[in-house]
Point group: C2
Chain length 370, copies 2
C-alpha cells in the first residue's frame, strides 16, 4: 500500500479500495472500524490482527492485491470515488454502513445526476406490460432531466435503462459484482452502451462476483443515492421491494405502478401501496411530481375535456337534462318533466340559449348540439 499507487491515489483512497475488496458490502465491523480510525489505520489494524473481531478479514488479506484491482479497474476505465469527492453521491452518507468507495465507469457526474434522479426497479420476470411501462417511465423521466438509476437486471431494470438510452438521457447501472464484469452476461452490450454516456457503478472491487448478499446490499445503494424509487412490477417477495423499503426507511419517496390485480407481478406493488409506504403513480409526470422540484414538476391532473353543460347550476342543469334532442317540447311539458315551475324553466332556457345549449324548435325547445 505505497509506492506506485500512491502516485495515483492518496493513502486513504488506496486503503478504501483495499477495504472494498477485504470486507463484504455492509460489513458492520469494517464500517465501524474505518469510521473510527480511518481506512488506513483500519487496514493496519487488520494486518496486525489487533483484535479478535478483525480475524474475519484475515482470509482475504492473504489474497488482497490492491495494485492489481486498480490495474484491472484502469483497464476498464474505472475510477475510485470516495466520500468527500466532488462527484460522491452524498445520499449514500445516510446509510448506516456506507460503501468505502465506489468503482465507477463512464463519463457522467454521479453527484449532480443523483440530485435529480429516480431509481426504477422491479421484477426480473416482468410482464410485457411492466417492461413497456418501465420503458415509458424511464424515457419520460429522462426527457424531464432525471437520471434513472437501476440494477441492469433482466426485466424492469433493463427496460428502464433502455428507455433512457432511447431518448439519449443519462442512466446509471449499479452492479452487485465488479464494474468490469457485466452481469447478467447477456447485458454486456447494454452495459457497454450505458458506460458510453452514463455510469456503471459498484462498491465491490473489480472482478468480484455478484452474490446473493451483494445484490441485497447493492439495493441499499440504489435506494439512497436517488431522490426516490419507483417499483414498476414486483412479486410479493421481489428484491425490488427490498430496495423500496430501504428507500422508505431513509426518507426517500417511494412510488409504485399499479397493474391488474390478477397479475402476481403487480402484487408486490399493490402491497407496498396498501402498506402505505408507496404512492401510486401512472406516468412519468406523476413520478416527476413526486420526486422533482416543487412547482416546476407538478403534474397536471389527468382529465378529459369538459363537456357542454358541465358547470351549470343545478336548476339550469335540470332544465337542460329535460330538453329533448329532436322535436321541440313546450315549456309546460318541460316543467312537468323537470319538476319545476314554468317560470323556472323559462329562466333556465334563457341561460341555456345564451350558452348555445338550447334552441327554439317548432312550438317548443330542444337541445342545441355544437
Amino acid at each position: 500500500m505505497n509506492a506506485p499507487a500512491s502516485s495515483l491515489l492518496d493513502q486513504d483512497r488506496f486503503a478504501r479500495a483495499a477495504w472494498s475488496r477485504l470486507a463484504e458490502p455492509g460489513d458492520a465491523v469494517a464500517v465501524s472500524l474505518v469510521a473510527r480510525i480511518g481506512a488506513v489505520e483500519a487496514l493496519r489494524a487488520v494486518r496486525e490482527q489487533a483484535h479478535p473481531a478483525l480475524e474475519r478479514f484475515a482470509p482475504r488479506l492473504g489474497v488482497l492485491d490492491v495494485e492489481r484491482d486498480l490495474e484491472v479497474g484502469a483497464r476498464f476505465g474505472a475510477r475510485v470515488l470516495c466520500p468527500g469527492d466532488p462527484d460522491w453521491p452524498t445520499g449514500l452518507d445516510d446509510l448506516a454502513a456506507p460503501p468505502f468507495c465506489l468503482w465507477v465507469r463512464g463519463p457522467a457526474d454521479l453527484a449532480s445526476g443523483c440530485r435529480r434522479s429516480a431509481a426504477i426497479v422491479g421484477a426480473r420476470s416482468a410482464t410485457a406490460y411492466g417492461e413497456m411501462v418501465a420503458t415509458d417511465l424511464a424515457a419520460g423521466l429522462a426527457e424531464r432531466g432525471f437520471v434513472v438509476v437501476s440494477g441492469a437486471a433482466f426485466g424492469i431494470d433493463a427496460a428502464a435503462h433502455r428507455g433512457v438510452l432511447a431518448v439519449e438521457g443519462t442512466t446509471v447501472a449499479v452492479l452487485a459484482g465488479g464494474v468490469d464484469r457485466p452481469y447478467p452476461a447477456a447485458h454486456a452490450t447494454l452495459l457497454g452502451r450505458i458506460v458510453e454516456s452514463g455510469l456503471v457503478v459498484s462498491e465491490v472491487a473489480p472482478a468480484s462476483a455478484p452474490t446473493k448478499s451483494r445484490f441485497l446490499q447493492r439495493n441499499r445503494l440504489i435506494a439512497t443515492m436517488t431522490v426516490g424509487t419507483v417499483v414498476v412490477e414486483a412479486g410479493l417477495r421481489s428484491g425490488s421491494l427490498n430496495t423500496a423499503r430501504h428507500a422508505a426507511e431513509h426518507g426517500r419517496v417511494v412510488a409504485a405502478v399499479p397493474g391488474p390485480v390478477t397479475s402476481m407481478m403487480s402484487a408486490g406493488c399493490h402491497q407496498a401501496m396498501r402498506d402505505g409506504y408507496a404512492v401510486l403513480v401512472t406516468d412519468a409526470a406523476e413520478v416527476a411530481d413526486a420526486l422533482g422540484d416543487l412547482g416546476a414538476d407538478s403534474a397536471t391532473r389527468p382529465s378529459e375535456p369538459a363537456r357542454p353543460g358541465d358547470d351549470l347550476d343545478e336548476l339550469t342543469a335540470r332544465v337542460h337534462a329535460s330538453l329533448p334532442v329532436r322535436r321541440g317540447v313546450p315549456v309546460e311539458r318541460l316543467a312537468v318533466a323537470g319538476g319545476l315551475s314554468p317560470a323556472e324553466v323559462a329562466a333556465g332556457l334563457g341561460r341555456l340559449e345564451l350558452l348555445g345549449l338550447a334552441e327554439r324548435h317548432g312550438e317548443g325547445w330542444r337541445q342545441r348540439r355544437s
Copy 2:
C-alpha cells in the same frame, strides 16, 4: 289523499309517495319543506300555492295520481318504505336531501342487509378485466355475508349483481327510474332474478323515466345506504366516481381496484387513490377487511411461502449464500468468499447444519436442498 288509500297507508306514507312523484330526487325546496312541516302539510301547502317557491310543484300536481302509482307499484309487488320503518336503511338519513320514501320490490330486508353491505360500482363500458374482477369481488363478498348494492347498469354493475346471484347471495339494485321499469331494458331478466331473492329499489314513483339527473341522485343513495363503495373500473369522468365521492363525503369507506395504467377504464380508480379518498383493494378479503367488522373480517396479508434460510442472522446468511450447490468447498475458501474468519464460517456452518441447510460433502461443505 284520503279514503281508499288511507286503508292501506297512513296519511304520511301516502303523502310521501306523492312527494316521490311531485319533486325531483334531491329537490332542496321539497326536502326542507317536508322536513319542516311534514309530508302531509307540505302537500297541502303546494295545493294551496302557499308560497311562490312552491310553484315548481304545480305543473306535476296537475298530473299527480298517487292511487294509480300505488296500484302500479302493487301490481309489481312494490311496497313503499318510509323513514322510521323497521327496514328503512338508516344510512340514508345522513343525506342532506334524503328520499321521501323508497319504492321497493323483493323479499330481502333492506335495513339489515345494508348493515353489512358493499356498493360495487364502475364503468358501463368496462373491460373484460373489470367485469371479471367485479364478478369475483361480488361473489367473494356475498360468500362473506355481505349484501352487494349496485345500479343494474351495463358493465361493472351487472357483473357485480351476477357475481352475487351466482353464489346465491343477496343483491340490491338501485334504479334511477321506477321499479316497474327495467333499465336498461336488456337487463329485464337480470332485474327479474334480483327481485326473486334481493331487492330492486327506487326513490321515484313507478313508471318514472330514468333521466340524467336522476342517475346522479341515485348515486347518492347507493353511496349512503352502504357501509362502503368499491370502484372497480372508472374513466376519469365516470359516474361511479360521483358515487365514490358521495360515499367519502358521508364518511363511508371508499375502495378502488387498480388496473393497467394503460387502461383508461382504470384511470378514474387510480385518480381516486392518488386523491387519497380511496384505498387500494385487490380482492374480496381486502374489501371485507375495509368494510366489515374489525377482527372478524381482517384480511390476512398475501404472502408467498417462506423459503429456507429466510430468517437467518446476517452472518449465517452470508455463510449460506457462499455455499456451493454441488461440490463441497472447504472452510478456508468459504471464509474468503464470505469475507469472514474461519471460526465465523465454522459457527455459521454449525447453525446451518442444525437447520438442515448445509451438509458436508467431500473435503468441504455445500448447501443442502430439502
